[in-house]
Assembly symmetry: C2
Homo-oligomer: 172 residues x 2
C-alpha cells in the first residue's frame, strides 16, 4: 500500500502525541491528509477511507489498527496496519501518510517505529509493505530502506503495465 513518506526527514522538534483509537471525525481528517499529499490516485484514496470505515464499524475485528500522530490536537499523520489473514505472525503496513505541511519532522519514522513496537508486542514476526516500483516512489523506498526494510519480492506489471509491485519486509 502506498505511502508519501520521504527519506530525508530530519527535524525532531515538537514530538507528536500518538493516539490509538479512531473516532468518526478522523474519517475526514484522514481523507484530507491522504488527498493533501497529492500522491495517491482516487481509487487508492477510496481504499484508505474504506479501511477507517471498517475500523469504525467493527473495531479490532476489522483487523485494521490505526496509529495517529497529533500535534496540539491536530492530526498530522497516521499509519494503518494489521495481521495478515491465515498467517501466524505476519503483518501488513496498509497505509502510512504524513500531512505535507508537517513533513521533515520524522513523523513517518516515529509512526513506523510505533507500528513495529505494537506488532512485536502482539507476537508478530514480519512486517510487509507493498509499494509501487514507479519512479514516484523512489523517496518512499529510500525511507523504508533506512528503516531496515528489505525487498522480499518484485512482481512485474502487477499494478498496471510498467507498474511493478515491490514487497518490502522487516524481520522483527
Amino acid at each position: 500500500m502506498p505511502s508519501n513518506i520521504h527519506s530525508h526527514e530530519s527535524r525532531e522538534e515538537y514530538p507528536p502525541t500518538l493516539r490509538y483509537d479512531v473516532t468518526p471525525s478522523d474519517r475526514d481528517v484522514i481523507k484530507r491528509i491522504v488527498e493533501g499529499t497529492g500522491f495517491f490516485r482516487t481509487d487508492e484514496i477510496s481504499v484508505a477511507v474504506e479501511l477507517i470505515d471498517e475500523r469504525l464499524k467493527k473495531g479490532d475485528a476489522s483487523g485494521y489498527y490505526f496509529i495517529l500522530a497529533e500535534m496540539v490536537g491536530i492530526v498530522t499523520g497516521y499509519a494503518c496496519y494489521g495481521p495478515i489473514a491465515c498467517t501466524l505472525g505476519s503483518y501488513d503496513l496498509h497505509w502510512i501518510a504524513v500531512d505535507p505541511a508537517y513533513q521533515r519532522r520524522s513523523l513517518g519514522r516515529i509512526l513506523l517505529r510505533e507500528v513495529e513496537r505494537h506488532v512485536l508486542q502482539n507476537g508478530g514476526r514480519h512486517i510487509y509493505i507493498e509499494t509501487s516500483g514507479r519512479p514516484q516512489y523512489i523517496p518512499t523506498r529510500s525511507f523504508y530502506q533506512q528503516c531496515g526494510y528489505q525487498i522480499a519480492a518484485v512482481l512485474p506489471d502487477f499494478y498496471d503495465r510498467n507498474d511493478d509491485k515491490v514487497v518490502w519486509r522487516k524481520i522483527l
Copy 2:
C-alpha cells in the same frame, strides 16, 4: 489461498455444469466441501465461508466471484476469484476446492480454465495464486504448474515459521 487440487486428475467423463450465481444454500455446501477435503485449518475454512458471506451480502461489489461445478444438481467443486484492489488487470484466485468424492475428474482444471476465461474477458492480464510451501502442497503446486502457472515470488516463513508463501502467476 489454499486449494486441495492434485495434479493427477484424469477422468473427463460426466462434464460438470458450471454455475456463476451463488445462493444462501451454497454457503453450507461450500463449507462442507472445504471441510471434507481434510486439507484446511479451521481459520482457513472460516475465510472460505467469509468470502461467500461477503458475496451473498454485497454481490459484485464484494469483489468475490464464484464458479460452481455441479453434476446432476450436486455441487462438486468451486472456485472463487476477484480483481486485486488498486491494480488494473491483476486478479487473485482466492480459493479452489473439489469434493474428494469427485476428484480425478478434471474438475479443478475445468474450474481454473473457466476462471481464466472470465478474467481475460474482463480485461485481466495476470492471475495470482498464493499457496503454502509446505510438503502437503506438492501435488497442488504440480497442478498449477501443469495449468501454466509459474512461481513469481517466494516469501520465507510468511504463513508461519517453516511455512513459506509461494506466489504463482499466469500471464493471460
